[in-house]
């Protein structure tokens, strides 16, 4: 790696794994999109195609004991934190073999054992939970960090401001990652926020705010690395704003009338997977052929996940009332 500046703990083989992971996220989302179009999955879903670099880049710096909280657009975070697409797909199919036994669905996938404290159907709802997780780390003197993912829309919720302030005054080991994908459903960030960078909001709480190119996995890893070090050294929280773009609509029913095709195409040019591939090839970490076989492996993984999901049993009437209380 001559020109590629990545955190010390990231080895070449990690980069190759991350490249595959980004494809896994994309193919998972594409597959889910197809299934919704065909009516094979019901309910709704929010896809993170185009946002793979922030999920993969941030989670690359986390250990198993580190935690994340995620959002309604959380499939990518889930995969990046170590979830298997098999059990995720089974969950979307509503099967008992899914992460939540078919009771949570797309918006509530959690994998507490792997440190994923859950996606969230409430915009901004997970931010205070992440602060609570960080409080446990501080009180029990456990050396883990908690990463809290949320979108630009969530930063207008009171829960964001309350939680960031709380984390700041208590100096908690938490990293707030705002994936600014430019839209909260149809609301453009330009119309809903009067400042240029959401990271500026960190200033009001006395913590560092960093703007990063959310479509550049290398930059995402570097800013996250710094934030993790700060958190683990007892220096408190950081707000990272990852500028990115969701290629698909907000949810399955979105006609995308609020934005232009030109704008979409501009962002597609900044495809995070393509950019990462180019870096890996120019650094001679992989060849074009290897890149192609990695992509195919990822696709195969998703097809296997679908097969796993389809085989899973459906819940029965007996499952309705289980797990309401511990």
């Amino acid at each position: 790696m001559k020109d590629l500046k990545v955190p010390e703990r990231i080895a070449e083989e990690n980069l190759v794994e991350l490249y595959k992971q980004m494809w896994t996220i994309r193919y998972f989302e594409e597959k889910v999109d197809q299934f919704f179009a065909k009516g094979k999955i019901h309910g709704t879903t929010h896809l993170a195609v185009g946002q793979e670099a922030s999920a993969a880049g941030v989670c690359a710096l986390l250990d198993k004991e580190d935690k994340i909280t995620s959002t309604h657009r959380g499939h990518g975070h889930c995969i990046a934190k170590g979830a298997t697409p098999d059990k995720m797909m089974a969950e979307l199919f509503g099967r008992t073999t899914g992460y939540c036994k078919g009771k949570g669905g797309s918006m509530h996938i959690a994998d507490v054992e792997m440190g994923n404290l859950g996606a969230n159907g409430i915009v901004g709802g997970g931010i205070p939970l992440a602060v609570g997780s960080a409080l446990t780390a501080q009180m029990k003197k456990l050396n883990y960090v908690t990463v809290c993912f949320f979108g630009d829309g969530a930063t207008n919720e009171g829960s964001f401001h309350e939680a960031v302030n709380l984390a700041a005054v208590w100096n908690l080991p938490v990293i707030f990652v705002c994936e600014n994908n430019q839209y909260g459903m149809s609301g453009s960030v330009k119309e809903m926020v009067k400042i240029e960078d959401i990271a500026t909001r960190a200033k009001s709480y006395g913590i560092p705010g960093v703007v990063a190119d959310g479509n550049d996995i290398i930059e995402m890893m570097n800013v996250t690395n710094e934030a993790v070090e700060r958190a683990k050294n007892g220096e408190g929280p950081t707000l990272i704003e990852a500028k990115t773009y969701r290629w698909k609509g907000h949810s399955k029913s979105d006609a995308k009338k609020y934005r232009t095709r030109d704008e979409e195409n501009e962002w597609r040019e900044k495809d995070p997977i393509k950019r990462f591939k180019e870096s890996l090839i120019s650094e001679s970490i992989i060849t074009e052929e290897q890149a192609e076989s990695i992509r195919k492996e990822a696709l195969k993984g998703i097809e296997d996940a679908v097969a796993f999901a389809e085989e899973g049993p459906m819940p029965t009437k007996d499952d309705l009332l289980t797990d309401v209380f511990a």
Binding site: A110, V112, V131, M139, L166
Partner: protein, 327 residues
């Protein structure tokens, strides 16, 4: 036995639990050196320090979420909200997060936390500091709801709530804080979901919650002078509800009066009345069920109006007599 106040019993339950279990801590607004809005935590920061008696910013949503997140990752937080009216500001966290996490996650993860909060009117604090909103939370699957009426009960129920692996909303009635009762010094637990027959009787069952337990007992004493024997049942917890004890009592007395301070419309009394109407006790009823609750208005400031808003002893006596055709 030793007599202490309801307020002291709450503090003692928390302190004893915190001495036993490092994972238990309290967080809330002004609970540090100030001792909390009603003085419940007074002296606790001196014993346990600012880490475990954690003063927070005025951020009900933020601190509720922090409590939930800490519970999900291994702590057993006790969250104090200054007035139960403020649960409205923490509602997303309690209802959409705490109550549902375990179910949504397919039984993985648990949220062992207690939200303690003073409720009820009678202090002249008016419409935003006097409500009884327990029916809101009792409606939500995944939350347990406790309303202790005596110093003895509050200590045992709080231990059970802290030991419970689920989110528990624990209502302390502010007019009860200064009431005294016999309370054992040692720790003890009163299981959630076990009603208490506070007075035995044969002619009518009065199911009453929180401060209404005391008004019902006063009413029963008055009724006795007129030869009417009233049984007073205190459910103690709304979720889970001890339906068995209530059904048994109504089957015996054949008459039911339900009384709570919360607004009657949509109040938990409707649930208790319906539960009896659907149960085997229905066949024993000799009169229509009577419900008493708060008036359909916000709680007024003027002390006379404030009293008119909520059921008083004469209202309970009147309702009982109506069920006996003696009004």
């Amino acid at each position: 036995m030793r007599e202490i106040t309801y307020l002291e019993a709450v503090r003692e339950a928390m302190s004893q639990e915190m001495r036993e279990n490092e994972d238990v801590f309290i967080l809330g607004e002004d609970i540090g050196v100030y001792g909390g809005a009603f003085g419940v935590t007074r002296g606790m920061i001196e014993e346990f320090g600012p880490e475990r008696v954690r003063n927070t910013p005025i951020s009900e949503s933020g601190i509720a979420g922090a409590a939930i997140g800490s519970a999900l990752t291994g702590m057993r937080p006790i969250l104090e909200l200054q007035f139960s009216d403020f649960i409205t500001i923490a509602m997303d966290q309690m209802v959409n997060q705490a109550a549902k996490i375990r179910y949504m996650y397919g039984g993985k993860g648990k949220v062992p936390m207690v939200l303690r909060t003073p409720s009820g009117s009678g202090t002249g604090a008016a419409a935003q500091h006097s409500q009884s909103l327990e029916a809101w939370v009792a409606h939500i699957p995944g939350l347990k709801v406790v309303q202790p009426s005596t110093a003895h009960d509050v200590k045992g129920l709080l231990k059970a709530a802290i030991d419970d692996d689920n989110p528990v909303i624990f209502y302390e009635h502010k007019l009860l804080y200064k009431t005294k009762g016999d309370v054992p010094k040692e720790q003890y637990s009163i299981p959630l979901g076990k009603a208490d027959v506070k007075r035995e009787g044969t002619d009518v069952t009065i199911v009453a919650t929180a401060i209404m337990v005391h008004r019902a007992l006063e009413a029963a004493e008055e009724l006795k002078k007129e030869g009417i024997s009233a049984e007073v049942v205190d459910p103690r917890t709304l979720v889970p509800l001890d339906t068995e004890t209530i059904i048994k009592s109504v089957s015996k007395t054949s008459r039911l009066v339900v009384v709570h301070e919360a607004v009657k419309r949509g109040g938990y009394g409707a649930e208790i009345a319906s539960m009896i109407a659907e149960s085997e006790a229905f066949d024993y009823l000799d009169a229509p069920i009577k419900r008493l609750g708060g008036a359909p208005s916000p709680i007024p400031y003027n002390p006379e109006l404030e009293k008119l808003h909520v059921p008083q002893v004469p209202d309970i006596i009147q309702a009982v007599k109506e069920t006996l055709n003696k009004a």
